[in-house]
């Protein structure tokens, strides 16, 4: 489980996170949602240590990450897989080399074992046989799946996905969502997903954290988010006309 307690983060005079506390449960898809500019990505970057928190504690299964120096943090980071918004694949490397990279860096596996692991990961994201392609030769959806394959190569305990559906068509989004859900349950990973996409939230969100004005405004599961009467959440969830109609239908049925 990942826990953040009373964290604050400012950039100059702009206070982004305000005394925010939350916990992300093991074996579940934890979703951080909220409008743009509310601090979702900053929160995720604070959790993985790409941003330093000004105050507060980030802990991974009881290990206080905030107190560790960079070298000690690297040990915890080896247990983290991260899918970036733009996939962040190494563009000078092939798909195979991208996925093999953390294995080469941190394990003593033989070339054959590494290749087996790469093929397993590619198979897991339905991209078998795409080993020799360069990232530039892959579509956006493929790049996201390669990003997931690279993230799970080291059998991580924690998986972070920053807007995994951005720039993807609805069908590919569903594929990515299902993949994240399956991997989370299959490997019992603590998954944290940052998303704007309400379809994803309803589809895969086990534990949903709504960030508003830099605070943990609301916390619940996918069933309770639909029924809540919290104004800020309703403004966010039912922002589109389509979702508004669904809400009316649900209210009629109730």
């Amino acid at each position: 489980m990942i826990e953040v307690k009373n964290i604050n983060k400012s950039f100059g005079s702009n206070k982004i996170l305000k005394d925010l506390s939350a916990s992300f449960q093991t074996g579940k898809v934890n979703m951080i949602i909220g409008q743009s500019g509310q601090g979702k990505s900053v929160l995720a970057k604070c959790i993985v240590g790409l941003h330093e928190v000004d105050e507060g504690v980030v802990s991974y299964d009881g290990r206080n990450f905030s107190e560790l120096d960079n070298f000690q943090r690297r040990e915890i980071r080896k247990e983290i897989g991260m899918l970036f918004q733009g996939s962040a694949l190494f563009d000078s490397m092939t798909v195979e080399e991208n996925i093999m990279f953390p294995l080469k860096m941190f394990t003593d596996m033989s070339k054959k074992e590494m290749l087996e692991r790469v093929n397993f990961c590619l198979d897991r994201v339905n991209l078998s046989g795409k080993n020799k392609l360069l990232p530039a030769e892959c579509s956006g959806g493929m790049q996201k799946r390669i990003g997931i394959a690279r993230a799970i190569a080291m059998k991580p305990k924690y998986l972070f996905c920053d807007e995994p559906n951005s720039g993807l068509d609805p069908r590919t989004s569903i594929v990515i969502d299902n993949l994240i859900k399956e991997i989370t349950y299959e490997f019992n990973i603590t998954t944290v997903v940052i998303s704007h996409d309400m379809n994803s939230v309803i589809e895969i969100g086990d534990n949903i954290i709504f960030i508003h004005e830099g605070q943990n405004w609301w916390n619940g599961d996918r069933n309770s988010i639909i029924k809540t009467d919290n104004k800020e959440i309703n403004d966010f969830v039912y922002a589109s006309e389509f979702m508004g109609r669904i809400k009316l239908l649900m209210q009629k049925n109730l």
Binding site: V48, R74, M82, G86, A88, K104, F106
Partner: protein
């Protein structure tokens, strides 16, 4: 104030760069890749520049020798001295600062804005050491070889220009090259080269690594890297000359 902050950040960066590589095997592979990218791929431009600069130095020297009191071997002597003392270590480094410096800053800068550096960090990789140390080592190891190569080609360029223009004979030119030769000057040139190699790669990596924003900012970082590297090279050149030659 910003300058002081950047100087502090630069030295802190160097502290992280010089930490032990995660795996020596990977470092070795990256080192050879960088020797190819920084060193071998610079050889064509170094060849062209050296031959023509050597030729121009010898022709200019010959055209300025108005006094009959000046011996003819002065052409070879001046060509050798200018090449060893200034052209091959300094002017060539300034030119390579443009070629290699902009390349390094834009490569690392692009990795920064496309979150590839963040990806390395979240994996637990020391991104600075992984990206910069092989480049720094390759440049420091290979720049002296480039300098020696450039000196030789420059002297050959001078000889070709003098002979083809009938301004002197091969014997006289060679006599000039051998006259009043100070071996220490080669050492001076190599020390300068190593310092300039370090300056070019470390400053360019610094500007690339701390790029913020998008494509425009990568371009800006690349320009800054070349400008600042060139200025620092000139300042170092002055102090090294004072320390070693005087």
């Amino acid at each position: 104030m910003k300058v002081l902050v950047n100087i502090g950040k630069y030295f802190m960066m160097l502290g992280i760069v010089f930490s032990k590589p995660e795996k020596w095997k990977i470092f070795r592979v990256r080192l050879f890749n960088e020797i190819e990218a920084i060193g071998i791929k610079s050889l064509p431009i170094v060849t062209i520049l050296s031959v023509f600069m050597g030729a121009v130095i010898s022709l200019q020297t010959a055209s300025n020798m108005d006094s009959p009191l000046l011996p003819e071997y002065t052409i070879g002597f001046i060509t050798r001295s200018s090449t060893i003392l200034e052209f091959s270590p300094t002017i060539l480094s300034l030119i390579l600062a443009g070629k290699i410096g902009s390349n390094i800053a834009s490569e690392i800068g692009t990795m920064r804005v496309t979150e590839q550096i963040d990806a390395l960090e979240t994996m637990g990789v020391n991104s600075l050491s992984y990206l910069v140390l092989p480049k720094l080592s390759a440049a420091v190891l290979f720049f002296p070889i480039i300098t020696i190569y450039s000196i030789v080609l420059s002297l050959i360029g001078g000889w070709i220009a003098i002979i083809s223009s009938n301004l002197s004979t091969t014997e006289t030119y060679v006599l000039g090259l051998r006259s009043f030769f100070v071996l220490g000057n080669i050492g001076y040139a190599l020390v300068k080269t190593v310092v300039f190699a370090f300056v070019i790669v470390s400053i360019s990596s610094f500007y690339g690594y701390y790029t913020k924003g998008g494509a425009l900012d990568v371009g800006r970082s690349s320009t800054q890297a070349v400008v600042i590297s060139s200025i620092v090279i000139l300042i170092c050149n002055f102090f090294l000359t004072q320390m070693i030659l005087l």
